[in-house]
């Protein structure tokens, strides 16, 4: 079945819903930029970021929390603004998406300069506005498929790196990672159920290593997506499984990456039959 405007509409609605659900979760956890109220930054080994840092915007945020609030307002309002244009003035919507892309780049570059925020996890916010810049349905289809391939690569390369860098062949790997990752948590909350679970795995290095390998196998399974779209729903389930275990064992809520599930869920729609520009 070919992709239609109706599919594009539902994709867009789902994307906006994903975004605002995550926004509420982040608000609740005090993770909006103005809630973070940063007082220092950390420089990473990223050439693009170094160029961005020379604008001095990250220093403005350190000096005034109003700058942080302003960035939050822009970042969190743009999906809604885009949706309004998409529904009311579809021909203007792609131009709004370009603006949205710029806002997201500035926000993510800035946000991830302060401790705890990894830029890699924020990649959906950097890339997805490009999808919404598509004026035609065919362009939308191709960019969506491109994002799907990127996500497959993201996961597959993570698995390959574990083989190349040798983590996959180090029997004490997972126990050592758990100790290193959770030392402060285990020491300050030794009787908490999650601490007991982690301690149990540390004391059973073989079981922990098997879990590490299950993670690698899940990541490597993404290779099938390069050859067929038939198993994309399986990949979605595997990803959700991965997320749950990442949260449970590593205490890493990788939910920022979940928008990438949408291209997998919509991948079974074929190339649009004809060009449709208008949205409503």
């Amino acid at each position: 079945m070919p992709l239609t405007l109706q599919h594009r509409n539902t994709f867009t609605y789902w994307w906006v819903i994903f975004f605002y659900v995550l926004a509420i979760i982040k608000w609740w956890q005090g993770l909006w930029l103005f809630q973070f109220d940063p007082f220092m930054f950390t420089t990473r080994f990223d050439g693009t970021t170094w160029l961005f840092m020379q604008t001095g915007l990250h220093l403005m945020v350190l000096q005034s929390n109003w700058a942080a609030l302003m960035l939050d307002v822009l970042f969190y309002s743009f999906p809604f603004i885009y949706l309004l244009f998409y529904l009311r003035k579809p021909t203007t919507a792609p131009k709004i998406a370009w603006l949205w892309l710029i806002i997201n780049w500035i926000y993510v570059q800035c946000y991830t300069l302060y401790p705890t925020n990894s830029i890699e996890a924020h990649i959906p916010w950097l890339l997805f506005p490009i999808l919404f810049c598509s004026a035609s349905l065919k362009s939308f289809y191709f960019v969506m498929q491109g994002l799907r391939y990127f996500f497959l690569y993201f996961f597959l390369s993570a698995g390959i790196w574990k083989l190349v860098n040798g983590g996959a062949f180090q029997p004490a790997q997972m126990s050592a990672i758990l100790m290193d990752q959770h030392k402060d948590f285990l020491i300050t909350s030794p009787d908490y159920w999650q601490s007991k679970l982690i301690y149990l795995l540390i004391s059973m290095p073989v079981t922990a290593f098997i879990l590490y390998w299950i993670g690698i196998i899940i990541e490597l399974t993404y290779v099938i997506g390069f050859f067929s779209r038939r198993y994309d729903r399986l990949l979605v389930i595997l990803f959700i499984l991965f997320l749950v275990f990442d949260h449970l064992l590593m205490r890493i809520p990788y939910v920022e990456v979940t928008p990438f599930l949408l291209p997998l869920l919509y991948s079974h729609y074929g190339m649009p039959d004809r060009e449709e520009v208008r949205v409503v």
Binding site: W161, N165, F185
Partner: protein, 176 residues
Amino acid sequence: MFLKEVYRHSKWMFAGMLFFSLGQLLVNYKRGMVFSPFFHYGMYSAKVEPRHSYLVNIVTVDGDTLSGADYTPPQWDKIQYTLQQVVASSCDSLFYQNQILRLYRKAGLPAPNSKYFVNFGNRQKRLETYKIWLAKQLGKKGASIKVSQNRYVYYFEKFVFQQKMDTLSGTNILCH
């Protein structure tokens, strides 16, 4: 083939996708510096061995030790990881000198001002700011916050306290 179909649809889009793919592959091949949005996703891939002992930062608020179980993982990271970065922030200048200046020179670019890359003030001042910041984050303005560092060993399936350190020490990726 997907890229062939993209080429037929739009040469600009094809060029964009090709550039993006090659950028990803290059960053993976070089394994060093990244250029967002080109990253390498090698998290937890390097060999890790259990260590002999572990240094852990302990935070107390009005005499009570903060416990990880009372916070969600991102909230706990905010408390602990920010502190780790404060402790390691003396490496800022080192990173600016050894990496940023070196690579800018190599690329033939003018040296950027250090104020964009090195945090203002010294580590002690940042630690004091951290305490004020944390009190505000926890909704306990004016609370007495103390930070210490202890050494622990993993012994008989538990972390066991070994030694209280005289000074805070720590490194991050910038120190290398």
